[in-house]
């Protein structure tokens, strides 16, 4: 094997430009597959982190009637906050959120919104609830930057807000935007405003009540109070996970095209090699190699293309990928407008597993593609091969 390896390296490097063309094409495949997967991994990690930090926490207790996809469920989706969580709420490790529907009238337009009440003491989510403490306004609200942009609102703006209380009675007030936060999570931004929890409870006539309880970093020990249901982090992140899985599946098409191009080049080279190097094949056999050894040599030569490609990809790819992992890749906010959790910049994440899997996959494919034409050698007559006669 050592000898075949030595000969294969020698033959491969001796083939010059032909080898390097294959190696360059293959190294692109390595790089683009790793880069694309790294980007998806980076997005996955960033989206999960942002979702956990801004919306889901490490899990949530939902009032049993609550269904985020059915706005009508909000009328009944509120209950007293279970007293077992009092200490955790005081410590800021559970963030109760009361959710109801409402309407605002920015610049004379009508906009249906969700009104969400959150405690200024909570430390579970990144929402800047502490701003409520600095405000003396009757109804201070926080909104996200997308909500502000869509409705032409800015800090200090006052607009009318209307809602229905627990008895179904309409009420209205002036709300004041006291802060605008930036988030990558559209589901805590678009079409909603955040108000102090106690103020919303008072507005709704629902003292001490909440719709959901967002959990921080603590163990729930499987405690689910009656009238509430627990949603794990995985369940809450399912949507984003599914989107990324779908994107990954789409990426496979790209990988197949890239790999096909690279493999076509290698297959072609192998066929050409066997066609052009018949005398050489005959000489190897005359010098005492078996045909299977020669098949092994040619297969090894072909598959070594992937080794050289991996080395070449490492030479120019590591700096490029490292640079992008540091600087990130800008998505210019387009994806956010579709409701996807995408940061302005995604920082690709390249794991050892990703790199190893890609290398193994490409090497395996290259070996198979190299072996297929090389099998012809086993059927060659050495006497004909020595004369360079086509077989």
């Amino acid at each position: 094997m050592k000898l075949l390896f030595k000969l294969a390296i020698k033959n491969l490097t001796g083939a010059g430009l032909r080898t390097w063309l294959n190696v360059i094409v293959l190294s692109f495949s390595f790089l683009i597959i790793i880069w694309h997967k790294g980007l998806l991994n980076g997005w996955d990690r960033q989206a999960r982190n942002d979702m956990v930090n801004w919306e889901t926490g490490t899990g949530q207790f939902w009032q049993s009637s609550y269904d985020p996809f059915d706005p009508f469920s909000l009328t009944d989706a509120h209950s007293k906050i279970p007293s077992v969580f009092d200490t955790l709420i005081t410590k800021g490790e559970i963030a109760p959120v009361l959710i109801t529907q409402g309407t605002i009238y920015p610049r004379g337009r009508i906009q249906s919104i969700l009104i969400k009440g959150i405690s200024s003491a909570q430390r579970v989510l990144k929402l800047p609830g502490e701003l409520f403490l600095k405000s003396n306004d009757d109804l201070p609200v926080l909104i996200g930057s997308k909500m502000a942009r869509d409705n032409g609102l800015k800090t200090g703006d006052v607009t009318t807000i209307r809602w229905r209380d627990v008895h179904g009675t309409f009420d209205a007030n002036e709300m004041k935007v006291i802060g605008i936060f930036d988030t990558n999570v559209p589901s805590v931004d678009a079409g909603q405003i955040w108000v102090p929890l106690d103020r919303l409870q008072k507005m709704m006539g629902m003292p001490g009540e909440a719709t959901i309880l967002v959990c921080g970093n603590f163990d729930t020990n499987g405690r689910t109070p009656e009238g509430w249901k627990f949603k794990s982090s995985e369940e809450l992140l399912k949507t984003v996970t599914d989107i990324i899985k779908m994107k990954s599946a789409g990426g496979i098409v790209l990988y197949i095209i890239l790999m096909s191009l690279a493999m076509l080049a290698i297959f072609d080279t192998q066929v050409l090699s066997i066609f052009r190097r018949q005398k050489e094949i005959g000489t190897y056999i005359a010098l005492g190699m078996t045909r299977s050894q020669v098949v092994g040599l040619f297969t090894l030569e072909g598959s070594l293309n992937s080794v050289l490609a991996a080395l070449l990809a490492a030479v120019y790819g590591i700096p490029l990928l490292a640079l992008q992992a540091t600087k990130g890749m800008s998505f210019a906010g387009t994806a956010k407008s579709y409701g996807l959790v995408v940061a302005d910049k995604i920082f690709p994440v390249y794991s050892l597993g990703l790199v190893a899997t890609t290398i193994i996959l490409i090497m395996l494919t290259t070996t198979i593609v190299s072996y297929l034409p090389s099998r012809r050698i086993a059927k060659m007559k050495p006497t004909e091969a020595l004369r360079g006669k086509l077989q």
């Binding site: 020698k10 001796g14 083939a15 005959g282 000489t283 005359a286 010098l287 005492g288 078996t290 006497t383």
Partner: protein
Amino acid sequence: MENSTLISIEALKKHFPTSGGRFTALNGIDLKIGKAEFTGVVGPSGSGKTTLLNIIGSLDSPSEGRAMVLGLSISDLNVKQAALLRRTRLGFIFQSYNLLPVYTVFENVELPLLLLKLNESQRRKMVMDSLEWLGLTDKVKSKPAQLSGGECQRVAIARAMVKRPEIVLADEPTANLDAANSHNILKTMVRLNSEFQTTFIFATHDDKVISYLKRKISLVDGKVEKDEITGN
């Protein structure tokens, strides 16, 4: 088999299938070749010279009859045994040199030793000895494309001789060379034959080669027409 007999061929026939039936390349050959002979199988194209050499070299097998080479029956050798025979005890010289173009002269000559798995210092010594016999020590780092035809054939001889085989099979070794180079090469082979007692068997129809042979086996239509000691 006599002690000095390296090759013993009896009633050897070789048929090749053709579209219309079969072509008989060798049609009942009987001959013995001994140690240190400088023998040529001569005859016109299609007389079966190369086929005979291929069978002796275990690159092909007889259709009928028996070919014993260095005590081994070619018909009975499996692929690995045949490869081992070629690797350890036979050397080949071809008409078109068959040097590996991406290898240097040194590497081309070293290749048979690599297959024998000799260590680097042994290989280096044997390669340099071989190149010295052929006067190629100044071409060690050259590639075949940088050499003349005569030099290429000398490299091919060095490659055939480097492992000190018992038999060297040379198929039309001078066909691509001019007269001066042909004589030069043949003188070298005569010298190696007498110095190392290596058996040389040529397949040729070149008069220059024939003039150096000590024994001439004439083949016509796959049969030995004449087997004569030339007295060289």
